[in-house]
Subunit: 399 residues, 4 copies
Amino acid sequence: VTYPDPPAAARSAGAPEPIGLWLVGARGNVATVVAVAQAAIARGIAPPVGMATASAALRDVALAPLDAIRLGGHDIGDRGVVDTARALAATDRLFDPTLVDAVAGELAALEREIRPGVTALSADDRDGAARLAAIQRDLRAFADAHRLARVVVVNVASTESPLAAPLPATAAGLAAAVRDGGVAVPASVLYAYAALDLGFGYVNFTPSTGSSIPALEELAVARGAVHAGRDGKTGETLLKSALAPMFAVRNLRVLSWFGQNILGNPDGLTLTDPAHRGSKERSKASVVPSILGYAPEAPVRIDYVGALGDWKIAWDHILFEGLLGSRMSLQLVWQGADSILAAPLVLDLARLVDRALARGETGALAHLAVFFKDPLGSDEHRLERQWAMLLEHLGVDPR
Amino acid sequence: VTYPDPPAAARSAGAPEPIGLWLVGARGNVATVVAVAQAAIARGIAPPVGMATASAALRDVALAPLDAIRLGGHDIGDRGVVDTARALAATDRLFDPTLVDAVAGELAALEREIRPGVTALSADDRDGAARLAAIQRDLRAFADAHRLARVVVVNVASTESPLAAPLPATAAGLAAAVRDGGVAVPASVLYAYAALDLGFGYVNFTPSTGSSIPALEELAVARGAVHAGRDGKTGETLLKSALAPMFAVRNLRVLSWFGQNILGNPDGLTLTDPAHRGSKERSKASVVPSILGYAPEAPVRIDYVGALGDWKIAWDHILFEGLLGSRMSLQLVWQGADSILAAPLVLDLARLVDRALARGETGALAHLAVFFKDPLGSDEHRLERQWAMLLEHLGVDPR
Amino acid sequence: VTYPDPPAAARSAGAPEPIGLWLVGARGNVATVVAVAQAAIARGIAPPVGMATASAALRDVALAPLDAIRLGGHDIGDRGVVDTARALAATDRLFDPTLVDAVAGELAALEREIRPGVTALSADDRDGAARLAAIQRDLRAFADAHRLARVVVVNVASTESPLAAPLPATAAGLAAAVRDGGVAVPASVLYAYAALDLGFGYVNFTPSTGSSIPALEELAVARGAVHAGRDGKTGETLLKSALAPMFAVRNLRVLSWFGQNILGNPDGLTLTDPAHRGSKERSKASVVPSILGYAPEAPVRIDYVGALGDWKIAWDHILFEGLLGSRMSLQLVWQGADSILAAPLVLDLARLVDRALARGETGALAHLAVFFKDPLGSDEHRLERQWAMLLEHLGVDPR
Amino acid sequence: VTYPDPPAAARSAGAPEPIGLWLVGARGNVATVVAVAQAAIARGIAPPVGMATASAALRDVALAPLDAIRLGGHDIGDRGVVDTARALAATDRLFDPTLVDAVAGELAALEREIRPGVTALSADDRDGAARLAAIQRDLRAFADAHRLARVVVVNVASTESPLAAPLPATAAGLAAAVRDGGVAVPASVLYAYAALDLGFGYVNFTPSTGSSIPALEELAVARGAVHAGRDGKTGETLLKSALAPMFAVRNLRVLSWFGQNILGNPDGLTLTDPAHRGSKERSKASVVPSILGYAPEAPVRIDYVGALGDWKIAWDHILFEGLLGSRMSLQLVWQGADSILAAPLVLDLARLVDRALARGETGALAHLAVFFKDPLGSDEHRLERQWAMLLEHLGVDPR
């Protein structure tokens, strides 16, 4: 395969205005692949395959070039980014092992900008204000050190459990809860709060709570910040959002849509805990009924199979009724590498959210629904319609 | 499964204006299921599953009710419709065998209206005018006997070989060729000519030539007739048109898309002849490159496996490249009954083409692209966009 | 498909010696299909497809003809056998609905011989002796009424939970526990006890406890009874026992073998209860490690999807390592009707266990391992070796 | 994954007696992987996964250690072995690219022992004796230079077309034909002749003619040589030979078994030529009918999809009839790397054929049937029975 042109979007002409991409979970698989990919694409070693903003439809939209993006992030683990990269290359064969050496400089640069992360507040904790301040101190220091025009914070950390109790509905109420305790506040909410409060962009690429609560939408609007999420749509749900409209268009009645995912990365291990799995299964559940207009049996299962590493296999079995009571089926088998699919979308989102900040948009960015399983600000799940929404927002002719 | 409402479209209030549906290949599997289904739905025995015009989006569009449609057709075979129906029920278990008895009256009515079909003209034949006249005599007699407001002729006969030599480009040239010989003219072209020349509607549900030549578009416009085609999109190609846009939206590079179809009905047997298979494989070939904007390796194979009867199994293996040279795959397995999927679309097309005739539209009906593998008058292959085109044409809000 | 000869085994010459097949769960799907199949095969309406004892290898072994088998059984439900048969024909399309009428006489005969079943003994119950006596009274009455030479009791009832506490290890201990209470005794153990104590044959076609405890092996030997089990091998596990040896022969290292089963019959519904599912998942778990000699990750999942009815779909994903660290995969998709696969094996087992009784064998019948997921008296799981064991026991040349 | 023990078979104690493995097609993918694997295993870098002779059952049989095997061969191409190895590592990701450097010495050693190959004799050629002599000169020089105790010649070259005309039935007749012309003689027959005439071992790992003619069996016996073949059983046919017995054991009637293979290596490209494909499809065709005892529809298709490189994907769809006319299905999807699966079997065969030579066996080695699609000297296709035949011949207890 040869690629016609070096990607216009990857390299900037003259001195570009630097912007920041801050990764919560900066030493994980997705963040590591983001760093490897950004470097490889910016250097022209690898083509920007998988980046929607590099597709024929979007490549002429004015967005920050990849080489203008500075990386940093929080993490609570201590395995270095280079080690993670080597493991993904050697065991999972996601990319050529020699590529890690080629981009060692960029990985080291990210490593220097990783700060220790915070953990969730239990209802008894009283140091929420301090944790919030610590996050914001790190973010501001990153922005100052690199003289960043704007910063986008992206959550790519492990999935949290669903909320045990609801959080306050207003920004003021949430601020009080963080400060005074009394309610458990997930780490993802603290990061989202910190980012939006600074007027930064925030993206929740996971099924964790993040910014998906009214209090943070209120805060975002008040601070002139923007946010998007949640749960990047990279595999089985992506397929569902492309295929379910077919049954609607043909008026074929879906009787059941069973989905089984097996995967072996740390995210999969987290999901062996039923509580965490609940978050994931919930964010995947609404796509099919939303598109069909009725709710067939549609269980979604996720199982950990360590030998698969970063690869994910999804099997979907769809039983549908046709004319005269006949029963037919469609089966899908998806074999994809999770981080490889997620990383280019993270780069897309950094560029698109940065554009929204630069243009003075505020609050939830509904036009980014195409990237998420459970989109903020939109209940449109049909992939093509979501794509049309994005093109329209960016002023691109859909033809 | 229970269905909320009896289908509004199936039954007419008061005395409906009768219209005609003339099936070329009236004793074949598709035509037989059309007859069984029309009767079962009109009597309220079966819900109109699989009919797009009975879907939530379209059910309020004013279209001819099913019980207003009179059936007739041409065929060159002599196995009766009832025998075909019994075989589909017993061996292929497409529907309950007792249903054949329940609709025996309607099947007998169709049987009475079946006339012997014509065969292709070889370059040496000189009786083309007579064959054409015979077809038109049958069509007019059908219209007169039932006092039909309008007639739609639908080709559901076995697939022909591709054209050996091009046909004349003008209506006058084609008329001369039919009359005087010198060029081979497929039967499907004769039927299309006959229908359009009478100002009727014509639909080519097969990959045969039918009305897909400039001469017949010219004739249709001249006679105030309408036509649509070709090759009903019922299985693997339907899937492709729903799924290929996903790869475009995610900028994932499809390296190969291998499609294998196995089926056991007479249509499948015809396709064991490489010449006939060529027609089919050609009409299936343009979907993927048209949607992606480039042409991956995308062979399509069709094989006959008699034991499958009317069932068709399609396996698609899609290899695609993601970020950093990684290779991922998607596989599809489709298990559908061909006639069961086709028949409701034939009923849809009869109603929608009848509407076009009633409204005075002429020529190729591009807004019906959603029903075809190789649509006349349109090069749009993305399923959702085709659907939006239909809704827009019918004045229905796509939301 | 035509079948060369009427099955010798189905019809007896002259007056055959009648034997009894007593079904625990006599109104369930499996028992119903046993009754339909026995009648259809004995009448020559249907060929004995799926019966191992009618295969080319075994058809010359002297076994009771099908028309010599009298049916009866216990059940705790009250939906009649005919109603179950009609539902299987209409909704699941397992067989032609008119077949139910053709064998109505035989179904009615079974219905007349169904007696109310017993339930499990809790640790507090003190009426175990009475329940046991009731079962034995029914069994003896059945044997007497039909002057049966021998009786084989087969458990095809819903799966029970695993034992909460171990049962006594000796026949005397078990008898005391049944009589005096103090420990919970599953219904399947009561039936097995009753049958073996009478010197009858007993087969446990389910993963319930049944006769798989030392106390009942002791009882069987003491009474000259025979037994076999457990958990009929009809689908995914059957495949595993055929395929896993391939990896061993080729010295390919299985890294993971993930199995997912979805099904919609009452058995599937029972298995939505994690306790019951445990029994099933356990009986399926030992096949792969036993054959390979090491234990790869091999989770087995069972999920209920009501729309599937009696159909079961199993998806297996096997990841294996080849030379030089390469990773390859094999996937299986099985689409089978559970009762249709089980019923002929129940007829096989009735005939083969009857033969063992007639020949004076006693205790666990290890040579029947080929029929079971978790065979009594044998730890051989390789299908071909199990088959060879059966042929050898029956004195048939394996070539 | 860790491997318990360093493979005993890989390393020899003291000075081993060197033996020769001569590869016809020595620069192809299979031969290249043979060389990489032999070196990696002998050095202890890689475990002998995929080698049957390193399995638990066979590892105690006395066979030549891997480090005693010297490699050489013929080839008509000129891309070097190192380049082939690098391509397999980089594009197809069959093994770590750094492994090529680690075994560079061994690859260079093979490269030094590669001689230009010969091509087929047309009926008009009169220089057959010279070509034969050239082959034998190369073989003898190889044996002398390395003081080899024995040599095994293995054909891993591209598949030839089937024989256009039959070859002479006696060794003398074949010798005359080679010398005097008059009949076309495939290259594979020349190599087999050369090897057997020298009393060497010969293995045909391809579907070409090789030694599978009576004249060469006669020659082998006369010269005290041994041979085995043909067509290594590495993928879809391997699966068939493991699975088809399951249908026989359960007396389920296979109605159709459709097999589709797609692959992208040079062997696949050769097979796009219908004549060559014929050889392959023929050698794959007999497995299913031989095992079942009847011949269901069982088409086998092979298609070239270049993007797959050395990977082969096989899809099998098996439709089978169960009790009462029900129809069920099993589908298989195999994703394997052809050369990776073949190479360890080539090493196995070299060792096992060498053992046969050392023990003075002669003629076709039927006990090696387990390795081949179309075994010489045996019509047993059931994998487990073939395995038992091998174990018995080697004096290994099958338990």
